[in-house]
Symmetry: C2
Amino acid sequence: MTNRIFNFSAGPAVLPLPVLEQAQRDLIALPGVGMSILEISHRSAPFEQVIQTAEKNLRSLLGVPEDYAVLFLQGGATLQFAMVPMNLLPAGASADYVLTGSWGQSAFKEAKKFGTVRVACSTESDNFSRIPRQEELSADPKAAYLHYTSNETIHGTEFDYTPAAPAGVPLVCDSSSDFLSRPIDVARHGLIYAGAQKNAGPAGVTVVIVRKDLLGRAPASTPVMLDYAAMAKAGSLHNTPPCFSIYVVGLVLEWLVGLGGLEAVARRNREKAKLLYDAIDSSGGFYRGHSRPECRSLMNVTFRLPTEELEKKFAKESTAAGLDGLKGHRSVGGLRASIYNAFPIEGVARLVEFMQDFRQKNG
Amino acid sequence: MTNRIFNFSAGPAVLPLPVLEQAQRDLIALPGVGMSILEISHRSAPFEQVIQTAEKNLRSLLGVPEDYAVLFLQGGATLQFAMVPMNLLPAGASADYVLTGSWGQSAFKEAKKFGTVRVACSTESDNFSRIPRQEELSADPKAAYLHYTSNETIHGTEFDYTPAAPAGVPLVCDSSSDFLSRPIDVARHGLIYAGAQKNAGPAGVTVVIVRKDLLGRAPASTPVMLDYAAMAKAGSLHNTPPCFSIYVVGLVLEWLVGLGGLEAVARRNREKAKLLYDAIDSSGGFYRGHSRPECRSLMNVTFRLPTEELEKKFAKESTAAGLDGLKGHRSVGGLRASIYNAFPIEGVARLVEFMQDFRQKNG
């Protein structure tokens, strides 16, 4: 057994051990191929099988309808912040953004470069501690699209419903940090994007699911690599794709299929998150969750301690105890436990134990 | 010993076996870290060490001066085809392109989207079988930059000199397919870019070396991920980078340092290429090189056989003999042996033997 620690990092994040073991076993030569996945041509039959199987499993897990394209791109969610308006926001039109935290704000800020954008709702005045209810969204019925962030990693909030966009307005979701953690109603979206490095795989690949009627709207001056239509036409192989990252995403998708699909995965995730939130709620106020209880993320559990000194001490001692990456994001402070799909329940139990122990000693 | 074959693929391409072995050994947990390189935060100390050591070795191998930034980006050379003009071609200015093959043409075509571009020289009328001499370049002394492709993978030609740009005109090089195969005079360039998947590592990362005075020229409407200045300011960590690909590039750079640096590597490459070109030249015309002898690439050896039927037969039988990926690019036909840094000389010798044998049977 390798000496592995519990990795609570917000992303890149823990991967399933069976996935790492398979990648390791086949790293020098894929079975029957005689070359490493790091070396084979992206135009070869073995790689075609890798990418096609990944797409097939993704479609099956999420129930992606036939009239949606699945793309494997580069540049992370941050490049999508630009690609979405470059492709979907025509000159003279306006796009709506729901701002529930830092990532929504970043998407909004980047989109401003490419046209008119409007805030359909912001929870900033509540310190991004909550998700708005549907009736709080003042969505423009003529918007080019309505953009939201389904999970905010830094604040630890998550939509527990799919927002309704006005009729004819495509709904666009940055699903980077809760992608594949639970079922999504793809058909209610125009476009869903996700950097892989939370739940879907390693850094270096971004999954985009886009309704095909939204393709082909980019101006002719769009870089070919940033044009969804060009990438869809080429099956994500306009040029050399990030082959290894796609391969690992494929292994993760097979692991998810083996777990019984996204309903089963969501059950596991609810169970893990409940353990942690219960530990917070039963601490007599020693631990205080950042998010309002009804808006809590199942992926990123954010909490504060009575003082910043205690928070520093907690971060230091938990790291020493083999619980790594619990320090909150530098922009908000506090603690954060990221417990994505691949994070083992044993690690959550260990953290709960550590929290109880720490509270007894310092409470 | 794993059952590995000889991989003549043009990219992704063969990697050094010691690099694959180290990546395999540490794939579950980096020594002393307890997490996989696929899982660690890009803001963590272990990853900082990975990317900083990679940059240090790259600077040392290529003699990159202090006033140049080294970036690790995504999107391959094809995204650079857009980023170069987006960053360096102001409105109203014009940029010069030297066209020596398909890749130069692709760069030129993409750049047209962003401003005025001009052909400083093209060898298309010679079927891209040669590299122009310096005196053939009609370079505009007022150009925003002069772009060339140091090695054309499809045609198998390579510059054996660094073109001189007019005074004050930055020289921009697409060095994707001969990067790190020999020394480059970085200081004579304004910008050098290279997709990693030939000589430098796996697919998924692009190395850019840019003179710092060229940073900060992109218009405010440039996507942040496509702005060299923003990426330089963030040390390539504006968002999550392709961590694993950068890690493998780092291992390749260490391997190159261990070989004795780029002069030693260039000697090996000349030796390997000579074996193959000698086999072509001594075949009594059965094998005919595509490139003129004085313009031959040391990386991609392209040749034709007397008939297309024989070419098909050669490709099929060589594959069966464990010599993979010799079929030429679909756009030009014929055969192509890509023999990048990591391609072993034993594989070249095996191909020479196969060529002699094939000629005896079919000549």
